[in-house]
């Protein structure tokens, strides 16, 4: 008896899943692949865009590397918002994306953050050329034992942090243990859970507690996040409307309000 019931249940589920999905009232829809570091601004952008235009957005969040692999293997996305410039460029080079559509929608800002309040010179800008307020003096003053950063091999924020460390310490190892997260959000998580003293995070992640230090823009390579329309998209016109929205004043305002710069 139970076996029969399980069989019936499975069959019912199969039939249900095969039914055509009920579409929203508006006919037009775009499928957008978004780097997971951009979740919060994207949610606001989605609301604003859907009110402005009669288009519903389906959004898939994952790391840029995973989204890239999905696109190359035929994922049905119309627009790709990467967390870097490399992947969109590779996609346009290999004809997976439309060259003319590529542009920088956001510029990331690298900062240092600790969960503890009112630490040494909190809120200051650290720069290489300043004798007192630089990375080495911060690490010394706080007696940092462990710090976290994103993986420089593929995360732009990780690469930026690595360049900063190289400028400060040259080929020597920094006087603290480096803990690498697979993404900038993991680098953040390691500090937030108290497991490391301080971390290189994105300004867009900055919470309203703890201490943070800004890093001079000229001390690390720019963190440009690029977007492209994919060649496989059948909705170039709608996709273009979305791209234009990102570059509009309203779009830029939303992006800036989340701690990014725009061009």
């Amino acid at each position: 008896m139970t076996q029969k019931r399980i069989l019936l249940f499975t069959l019912a589920m199969l039939v249900l899943s095969a039914l055509p999905r009920v579409r929203a009232a508006n006919d037009e829809s775009l499928h957008i692949a978004v780097a997971s570091n951009f979740i919060a601004p994207m949610q606001d952008l989605q609301k604003a865009f859907e009110t402005l235009h009669n288009v519903s957005l389906t959004i898939s969040y994952a790391s840029s590397g995973k989204l890239y692999a999905q696109i190359v293997n035929g994922a049905p996305y119309d627009v790709f918002l990467s967390a870097d410039q490399i992947k969109p460029t590779l996609l346009t080079d290999n004809k997976y994306a439309i060259h003319s559509s590529q542009f920088t929608y956001a510029k990331g800002e690298l900062i240092l953050w600790s969960g503890r309040e009112n630490l040494w010179s909190a809120g200051k800008i650290l720069t290489h050329s300043d004798q007192t307020h630089n990375l080495a003096s911060l690490f010394n003053s706080l007696q940092v034992k462990r710090f976290s950063m994103a993986n420089p091999k593929f995360a732009p924020y990780g690469l930026a942090a690595q360049k900063l460390l190289q400028n400060t310490y040259g080929t020597q190892k920094p006087p603290a243990t480096k803990v690498q997260g697979e993404s900038i959000s993991q680098a953040f998580q390691f500090v937030a859970s108290g497991n490391v003293d301080i971390g290189f995070i994105a300004r867009s992640q900055l919470p309203d507690y703890g201490s943070f230090w800004l890093l001079a823009e000229e001390d690390y390579p720019a963190i440009n996040q690029d977007a492209v329309i994919l060649s496989a998209s059948k909705q170039f016109a709608t996709a273009s409307t979305f791209i234009e929205f990102l570059q509009s004043k309203e779009g830029k305002n939303i992006i800036q309000s989340h701690g990014y710069r725009t061009e």
Binding site: K66, K87, Q186, F190
Partner: protein, 230 residues
């Protein structure tokens, strides 16, 4: 074909899996013996806790372990108070996490094997004035041997295949916490698919050979088939 960091990752993975398997056999044997013989009401809850890692996503385990082993977590407070410091991002942190993660894969085959022996041989041994230690080494161990072998192989292989937890509490430190699965993930994220292929191929081959050995071995012995989540 393999880079030095690949070799480092493989060596670290094997070291981790060996350490975890040895410790797990020591923990799981008494636990499995108790579970196989007890009539206590605790049997249900304990069995459920042991089996939890089978159905929990590794990210859940990893997330809670990160918090528990952190400076404000109970494990973290304990390790700090005895002077060990904090465990996340260290080899021993991974060992502790893997102990939880692979526990059911070691406990359950041993428990099955011991239950299959039944009470009769043990009662017979007792009437012949066997001490509990004698019963364990001369009755339980030989009769439940296939269960112990299955447990060791599965515990080892499952630890080798660990990913989500290490991602959460590893911190990607070469020769300390950067295991093979993390190395593969890094290759894929960096779009270095050649490197990813080499290591992934080795993992597939390794896993197949492990299971092949296990099933070939089991089809010869009768006791303790590979069964999980009973």
């Amino acid at each position: 074909m393999l880079s030095t960091s690949d070799i480092d990752a493989i060596v670290l993975t094997l070291k981790l899996a060996t350490t975890v398997t040895v410790i797990l056999l020591l923990i799981s044997t008494p636990l499995a013996m108790w579970l196989a013989s007890t009539r206590s009401w605790l049997k249900g809850p304990v069995s459920a806790i042991v089996a939890l890692p089978l159905i929990l996503p590794p990210t859940v385990l990893g997330f809670y372990l990160l918090i528990a082993m952190g400076p404000n977590g109970p494990l973290g407070e304990f390790t700090q108070s005895i002077g060990l410091g904090l465990l996340p991002f260290t080899f021993w942190g991974l060992v502790i996490a893997s102990l939880f993660y692979s526990l059911p894969f070691v406990v359950q085959p041993i428990q099955n094997a011991i239950e299959a022996i039944g009470e009769k041989p043990l009662e017979a041994a007792s009437t012949l004035h066997c001490s509990p230690a004698d019963r364990f080494f001369h009755v339980i161990l030989p009769l439940a041997k296939p269960g112990f072998i299955t447990a060791s192989v599965l515990g080892f292989a499952h630890t080798v295949g660990e990913f989500g937890i290490v991602l959460m509490i590893g911190g990607n430190i070469p020769q300390e916490t950067k295991v093979v699965s993390i190395q593969i993930y890094d290759y894929v994220e960096a779009l270095e698919y050649t490197g990813a292929h080499a290591l992934s191929g080795i993992m597939v081959l390794f896993s197949f050979l492990v299971l092949l050995t296990l099933y070939t071995f089991q089809s010869r012995g009768k006791a303790s088939k590979f069964s999980l989540g009973r």
